[in-house]
Subunit: 200 residues, 2 copies
């Protein structure tokens, strides 16, 4: 059984944690998904309290690590030298991804050597200030590292992850239950397109 960790922190963007959490949480036989955080209780950007399932250090042993985002939460976490210290990640043995401003964690961890990524349109300028080229697409993948941008791109990021850990059939089965009624074909075409476009 694969082990998937989602990294959270105070003032995380609600949807950027919960969308990945729910899409991945529906399968309980092929993988286990856990929210990891720096302390026993976190508060979302909109004020919901979440109690992580384990400490950040657990991510180092996970098969996959996904970073959530937060307009205020990411800068605050990056400003705290203790935040990333417990994380020893390795794209040779782990699939690693980010949504929106989560890309800045990947950069700090040295996981974006290709200097191309995506993020939320509002954070484009920050990527450029780090000498990373922001690509105007919802998902950018380089081997086993992916960045996603725009909250709903979590659908593509989780799809990429399941296809990377398993295969395209399991990716389709994972995403199908969240697609809008009567629009499955158009969303599946969008997902297929975005995953193909994503590969650098």
């Amino acid at each position: 059984m694969k082990d998937i960790a989602i990294i959270a922190f105070d003032k995380f963007t609600d949807i950027d944690l919960f969308l990945m959490w729910d899409i991945l949480g529906r399968n309980t036989t092929d993988w286990r998904v856990r929210i990891l955080g720096p302390q026993p209780s976190l508060r979302s950007a909109h004020g919901l309290e979440v109690r992580p399932h384990g400490p950040l250090a657990d991510a180092s042993q996970a098969d996959a690590v996904l970073f959530s985002s937060g307009k205020e939460g990411v800068p605050a976490a990056l400003a705290d030298p203790a935040f990333l210290a417990p994380l020893t990640l390795d794209p040779q043995r782990q699939a690693i991804g980010s949504i929106c401003a989560g890309a800045f964690f990947l950069d700090r961890l040295g996981l974006l050597p290709g200097r191309q990524a995506t993020t939320h349109p509002d954070a484009r300028g920050v990527l450029q200030s780090l000498s990373i080229e922001p690509l105007d697409q919802p998902l950018v993948c380089h081997h086993r590292v992916a960045t996603a941008g725009g909250c709903l791109a979590a659908v593509y990021l989780t799809g990429w992850l399941i296809e990377t850990l398993f295969d395209a059939d399991k990716r389709r089965a994972t995403l199908l239950p969240v697609l809008p009624t009567g629009q499955r074909e158009v969303y599946e075409a969008l997902i297929d397109f975005s995953l193909r476009q994503a590969r650098l």
Copy 2:
């Protein structure tokens, strides 16, 4: 300032609460959004604890009421005579909506006299068993009552709500921040199409 209530209960589908919560929670000047529930602590289908902001009775005074969903949570709530009892809703003065199996609450409250609605594809048969025609589309609106189906259709439901309470410009501004990077046009076209299609 408008008052928007999201109804939750034990074993709610995580995304069916949190997606509406986050999309609506980003605006703090035109409306206030609160999660209402039958007891001080709720547990999501995937095990997250949420503490509602108020009791269900508060929904009777809200300008808008949105019902979340839950494969196990909705039948359990409907089986409890005390659950819907505090709710006195009126589509003449309130906008009322549901995602997925939340449609069954609307039916129980007598809010679907047109006998047409949408829900999650997996719950289609339940609608039919209630003599409601399931329409194969993500959003169905009748005056100020809307049903949505398929988790991501929460984007359309919240869009419909803001356009109903305010106008199309505010609806676009509300949804823009969650759209995938590089795909704003295609999603805005999907949203426009779904809202037009929705009107019976």
